[in-house]
């Protein structure tokens, strides 16, 4: 982990103002989970878009 990212995580920890531990960890997990969902959604969007163009569909 580079210093930039340590700063970012600590910024999250500081700004959350909760006791260190599970709740802070929960926020970090929430961020990771949402990022993964976003990547999956983007992949879905791209394949939805190419299907609309006719690729990979019966009309291709």
């Amino acid at each position: 982990m580079t210093s930039v990212n340590i700063d970012r995580v600590f910024r999250t920890k500081n700004s959350i103002l909760l006791t260190p531990g599970r709740k802070v960890k929960g926020v970090v997990w929430m961020e990771a989970l949402m990022f993964l969902i976003d990547i999956v959604a983007m992949v879905y969007l791209v394949y939805w878009s190419v299907r609309r163009e006719g690729w990979l569909s019966n009309n291709a």
């Binding site: 982990m1 580079t2 930039v4 990212n5 970012r8 910024r11 999250t12 700004s15 959350i16 103002l17 909760l18 709740k23 929960g26 926020v27 929430m30 961020e31 990771a32 949402m34 990022f35 993964l36 976003d38 990547i39 999956v40 959604a41 983007m42 992949v43 969007l45 791209v46 394949y47 939805w48 878009s49 190419v50 609309r52 163009e53 690729w55």
Partner: protein, 438 residues
């Protein structure tokens, strides 16, 4: 784990670009606005995702059979002229150094991307896809930060992704205010109840994230959008009755820190932060007065030598009383208008205003042309939504250095495409049932 997911996801979304270059525009948009490097810690940290997407899109587009013709549009001519002027300004400017050059590179990339949108995003399906990509990138930050603000009981101070134009809390607030109309448009367009729920939930979280920035500029932007909505609405009394409980509940649940911060809007002329902006505006004006045609080059007002030089002739603008500028602390321009004025001179400001005006005219033209034509109803609704984004940018941007905010240039280009689409004679295949998004 995140690195691996990002790598796999990036490869998966990039692969279809070789067949369909418009997918490259979606990936370009997503990587530019989400800044994925901010969410990984390992090997992917320094991978230039946006640059890869941009270069690949341009290459594939040039080599593919996809048409390369851009719509005939005054806005595109103005954007091209703005790009030429920016280039001349940077290379003949008074501010030397890598900061201005880096800003110029971003500026050119943004303008090239707007031309790519105008050339590749040419159908409703592609416009929908681009709007979803915006939602999944810019909207992602709003949803995430809004959720953090809520789970922290209003204590989390929202900042945008580091290393992007949204890194500043005020900039982030403007970005989110300008995004909200698109989220609400997507809500209206969706036919699935679940998807509608996602957009409603997202817009609430985005609103929470705006509150979490503690930005006065954000509040002014929302107020500007609200006033415009009031004037535009045919049901003003109902609108006011609906907005009162919303405002009352926002005021009730807002943290004291937020209320205290917003209260300072009324005493802005005694506020150091606001008066610092006025000083920066005066400095930008002085640069433009000396270099009216080409300005001082990108970030000129933030250049130490330029700032100290103009601090000495600050008396020329005593018409507006302020304290003298800090000789050792250059400030950002803190206004889209003064930023362009200092960077690109009066000519640049005229071009920038002309781009805003022509984009506004594009929205009006699309709304007018789509009226009473059911197959273009979506275009009318989208243009109407984008008017709110433009209002937010024009109002909030008056106090923020966001003249080169990529999202707004995407909107300018999108409006060019939409106007071109609705102005064309009706192709027979478009007359039929209205396409709905999922």
């Amino acid at each position: 784990m995140r690195d691996l997911a990002l790598l796999l996801g990036f490869v998966a979304i990039l692969a279809p670009v070789f067949r369909y270059p418009h997918i490259g525009a979606l990936v370009w948009c997503w990587t530019a606005l989400i800044v994925p490097n901010n969410f990984v810690y390992g090997a992917m940290l320094n991978i230039p995702f946006n640059k890869i997407a941009a270069v690949l899109t341009l290459l594939v587009w040039l080599l593919s059979r996809e048409p390369k013709k851009l719509p005939k549009s005054l806005t595109l001519v103005l954007l091209a002229a703005f790009g030429v002027l920016g280039t001349v300004s940077e290379f003949s400017g008074i501010a030397d150094g890598p900061v201005g050059m880096a800003e110029w590179e971003k500026f050119i990339k943004i303008l090239v991307f707007s031309l790519v949108i105008a050339g590749l995003i040419t159908t409703k399906a592609r416009i929908d896809a681009l709007l979803y990509a915006i939602f999944l990138s810019l909207g992602f930050h709003g949803i995430l930060e809004g959720a953090k603000f809520i789970v922290s009981g209003g204590q989390h101070h929202v900042w945008g992704p580091a290393g992007s134009i949204l890194g500043d809390n005020n900039h982030f607030a403007l970005g989110m205010v300008a995004l909200l109309p698109i989220v609400l448009y997507l809500y209206k367009q969706s036919s699935s109840r679940w998807v509608k729920l996602v957009f409603i939930g997202s817009s609430l979280l985005v609103m929470a994230s705006i509150m979490g920035t503690f930005s006065r500029g954000g509040l002014i932007g929302i107020a500007g959008v609200g006033v415009y909505a009031l004037f535009k609405s045919g049901k003003r009394v109902r609108y006011v009755l609906a907005i009162i409980p919303l405002l009352a509940s926002a005021a009730l649940f807002a943290p004291d820190r937020w209320s205290n911060r917003m209260d300072t809007i009324a005493t802005a002329n005694q506020d150091g932060s606001f008066m610092g902006r006025v000083i920066a505006w005066k400095q930008s004006t002085l640069i433009a007065m000396d270099h009216p045609v080409f300005g001082g080059g990108f970030h000129a007002v933030q250049n130490f030598e330029v700032w100290t030089h103009y601090a000495r002739s600050f008396d020329k603008l005593n018409v507006i009383p302020t304290s003298p500028p800090d000789p050792f602390g250059p400030h950002a321009a803190h206004s889209i208008y003064f930023q362009v004025l200092g960077d690109l001179g009066f000519l640049g400001l005229m071009l920038f205003l002309a781009i805003l005006v022509s984009s506004w005219r594009n929205t009006s033209a699309v709304i007018r042309l789509a009226h009473k034509r059911p197959q273009w109803r979506w275009a009318g609704e989208l243009a109407s939504s984008l008017q709110y984004s433009l209002i937010a940018y024009i109002v909030s941007g008056a106090a923020l250095s966001m003249a080169y905010f990529d999202y707004m240039y995407m909107i300018f280009a999108l409006l060019v495409v939409m106007r071109h689409m609705v102005s064309k004679p009706e192709p027979p295949h478009l007359v039929g049932p209205i396409e709905r998004t999922p």
